[in-house]
């Protein structure tokens, strides 16, 4: 059984160890007997709704992001359709920003985004940099923590009615004010957290894999066999400690 991953612009958006996230998904899939097949989707190439179980959009430096932004905006309709028909998606940092309605510069101009997430990002003056700890509730009543690192000047403001990925326990989050971080739309997740995100937060990796399997099998998300995860737990413990100790202030 394979899980088909579409990795958008791996040549351009790869700054915050995005390959670490993919490596974690691949390893955890393999250990459960699934195969992760990763296809790169570059500038000018189509997103074909239904062709991928999981789409991944990473972060880039400002220059690289500018280079792919118009192309990503053109792919917007196809990405929205893919998520609407049940594909999973993970977007980190720059990818998260560009999947919103757009990025408003200090001069007021709007660089259009893909319009998947209900948010708009506004250029800020002070970068929000540091360790972050979140509390997420992706399923009602099940609260789980996420530890990562954020580094962004943009302030992302969620539309009323848009669902955040989690509540900020330590750190800045979307805009340094609201107390929320990231955005979640069905099986799609966008976040500023890198570090990379998945190695030290294996529960989220498994959540994404289960959602992707649900898509590929047109069924319910399966429950995956637990893995030992001792090192993962230790890495999380240290990262969460860093957020408590030195994460940004709201």
């Amino acid at each position: 059984m394979t899980i088909r991953v579409g990795h958008l612009y791996p040549e351009y958006l790869n700054i915050y160890a995005d390959r670490g996230n993919i490596a974690v998904l691949a390893r955890r899939a393999t250990l459960r007997g699934y195969e992760l097949v990763v296809e790169s989707i570059g500038i000018g190439e189509q997103v074909r709704p239904g062709a991928h179980d999981l789409l991944y959009v990473g972060g880039g430096q400002d220059r690289e992001q500018m280079l792919i932004a118009p192309d990503l905006a053109e792919k917007g309709a196809a990405i929205r359709e893919a998520v609407a028909e049940g594909a999973t998606l993970l977007a980190v940092c720059g990818g998260y920003q560009l999947l919103g309605r757009g990025y408003r510069g200090r001069d007021g101009s709007l660089m259009a985004g893909a319009g998947l997430f209900g948010h708009e990002t506004v250029a800020g003056t002070k970068r929000m940099i540091g360790d972050v700890l979140l509390e997420c509730e992706l399923e009602p009543g099940i609260r789980r923590p996420l530890a990562g690192f954020e580094n962004h000047a943009g302030r992302t403001v969620l539309d009323s009615g848009a669902e955040a990925l989690g509540r900020v326990v330590h750190g800045f989050g979307n805009d340094g004010e609201s107390g929320f971080e990231g955005c979640r739309l069905g099986r799609a997740i966008g976040t500023y957290l890198h570090g990379p995100l998945l190695p030290r937060n294996p529960w989220l990796a498994d959540w994404l894999l289960a959602q992707a399997l649900a898509h590929s099998q047109s069924g319910e998300p399966p429950s995956l066999d637990p893995l030992p995860d001792d090192l993962e737990a230790e890495a999380f413990r240290v990262a969460a400690g860093r957020a408590r100790q030195r994460g940004g202030r709201r």
Binding site: A17, G20, F149, R242
Partner: protein
């Protein structure tokens, strides 16, 4: 010297002596911090007293080594003041300036963020910009931002300042475009090119039109002989170049150095192509100051290594080889020097203090993969040892070959225990891990403290 400056200088020297006496780590930045706080303009005044002028060296990678190499070359003709312990913020420059009374020439490595102010305060004769790699993004924001600051700083340079740039770095070559007093250095030996750009390659898109460059040769990261297929923007001709390069594993390298004043042979006792870049950068600074090729070659041959960057430390019946790692490009090159003789045991130490970079995601951009199938055992250590262990496992290291020991001292002892007498233990530490390891080795009597000035 004004009376005020004189008194402050004496006070700062006294604090430096006290700081060293208290054994708090060399006192390399403390007195400068004091002077810097009391009177920042003192840096301008102290620098202005240097009769032969000032040269500034900046880069994300290799500036400590490049500066130390340039010091060996320039020290033959000048009495130098330089920040040998790598304290490269303005306070560090102040410390160095305070500590030396008789110098005629100032040579300073400068933190990439501090460069504009250092230029403004020291009015340098030479500014050398050697590379821009991803480095500690948690501190500086992104590459483009640093490049933009450098652009502004370069535009403010007086006409009589020589700008030395690495022509193999597209962003830096562009900074020297149209400037009369400039020198371009680089490597020219396609036999040492990498077949593909490394994962962490940064500036791979044309600075003019944004198309991906085509590389006739990519040497280290994005440094190389590039050309844009769309608009034709390409590496400019080299004024100072290393050619006919021979690498000899961990022991060193030799190459021919071409300068406008002629060719000379260079022997380096430092490993790797990245140190050839450092040497050519140092040579270009010397060329800008009219040093002869013979003197350049002699200075480089005399050079051993900058503090903590590459050291061979005898430890009883075994030898410890320390290669500093601090960002993807530097770590890739350190690993590359190991490819010819993969060590049976490797200790990798990852800390996440400010000087290491608080954001540890960079370890995922390091190409550990080629090494991992061949290494017998890896000891992951430091404050973020678990994170490092995860990186290595996902890079293909079998779990039974990994040991995770956060305590640096335990990891050091474990590593030494694993290698046989008469052989070497290779350690790759980040900056503060290197300082701690050095502290442990100093306590055991294997190394001298770094402020002895013998490194």
């Amino acid at each position: 010297m004004g009376v005020r400056l004189g008194l402050e200088t004496i006070a700062a020297r006294a604090v430096g002596a006290v700081s060293r006496a208290a054994g708090r780590g060399g006192g390399t930045t403390l007195p400068g911090k004091l002077l810097w706080k009391v009177d920042p303009a003192s840096v301008d005044a102290l620098a202005a007293r240097l009769t032969s002028g000032v040269a500034l060296v900046s880069a994300t990678n290799g500036k400590t080594t490049t500066t130390a190499m340039a010091a060996k070359i320039l020290g033959q003709e000048h009495l130098l003041v330089w920040n040998r312990a790598g304290a490269n913020l303005l306070s560090g420059l102040a410390s160095a300036l305070v500590s030396t009374r008789a110098a005629d020439f100032g040579l300073f490595e400068v933190d990439e963020g501090a460069l504009p102010e250092a230029i403004w305060r020291t009015r340098p004769r030479v500014v050398s910009l050697a590379n821009l790699f991803r480095d500690q993004l948690d501190r500086y924001g992104e590459l483009e931002l640093v490049a933009e600051r450098w652009r502004t700083a370069v535009d403010s340079l007086p006409e009589w300042t020589t700008l030395v740039v690495n022509a193999d770095d597209p962003l830096l070559a562009a900074l020297a475009e149209g400037r009369a007093k400039s020198l371009r250095f680089g490597l020219d030996d396609p036999r040492h090119a990498r077949p593909t750009l490394q994962h962490a390659a940064d500036s791979k898109y044309c600075v003019r039109c944004g198309q991906p460059y085509i590389y006739a040769a990519a040497y280290v990261g994005h440094l190389g002989d590039y050309r844009c297929p769309a608009c034709g923007h390409e590496r400019p001709p080299l004024d100072v170049a290393a050619r006919d390069i021979e690498l000899a594993g961990l022991t060193g390298s030799r190459f021919q150095l071409d300068t406008p004043q002629g060719r000379t042979a260079v022997e380096l006792s430092l490993p790797g192509l990245y140190n050839v870049y450092n040497a050519v950068a140092a040579a270009a600074v010397a060329v800008a100051l009219d040093v002869s090729p013979v003197a350049i070659s002699r200075g480089l041959a005399d050079f051993s290594a900058a503090f903590g960057r590459f050291e061979r430390i005898p430890a009883g019946s075994k030898t410890i080889v320390v290669l500093l790692i601090k960002n993807p490009a530097g770590a890739n090159e350190a690993l590359r020097t190991l490819e010819t003789g993969v060590p049976p045991v490797l200790v990798v130490a990852l800390n996440d203090a400010i000087a290491d970079g608080q954001d540890v995601s960079w370890i995922w951009d390091v190409d550990f993969e080629p090494l991992l199938p061949h290494v017998g055992r890896v000891v992951a250590t430091g404050d973020r040892a678990a994170e490092l262990g995860l990186r290595l496992i996902h890079g293909g290291l079998p779990e039974d070959r990994l040991e995770v020991l956060p305590s640096l001292e335990q990891a050091l002892d474990r590593g030494l225990g694993l290698v046989e007498a008469g052989t070497e233990l290779v350690i790759l530490p980040t900056y503060t891990a290197m300082l701690s390891l050095r502290g442990i080795l100093t306590e055991r009597g294997y190394v001298r403290p770094y402020w002895d000035g013998t490194t």
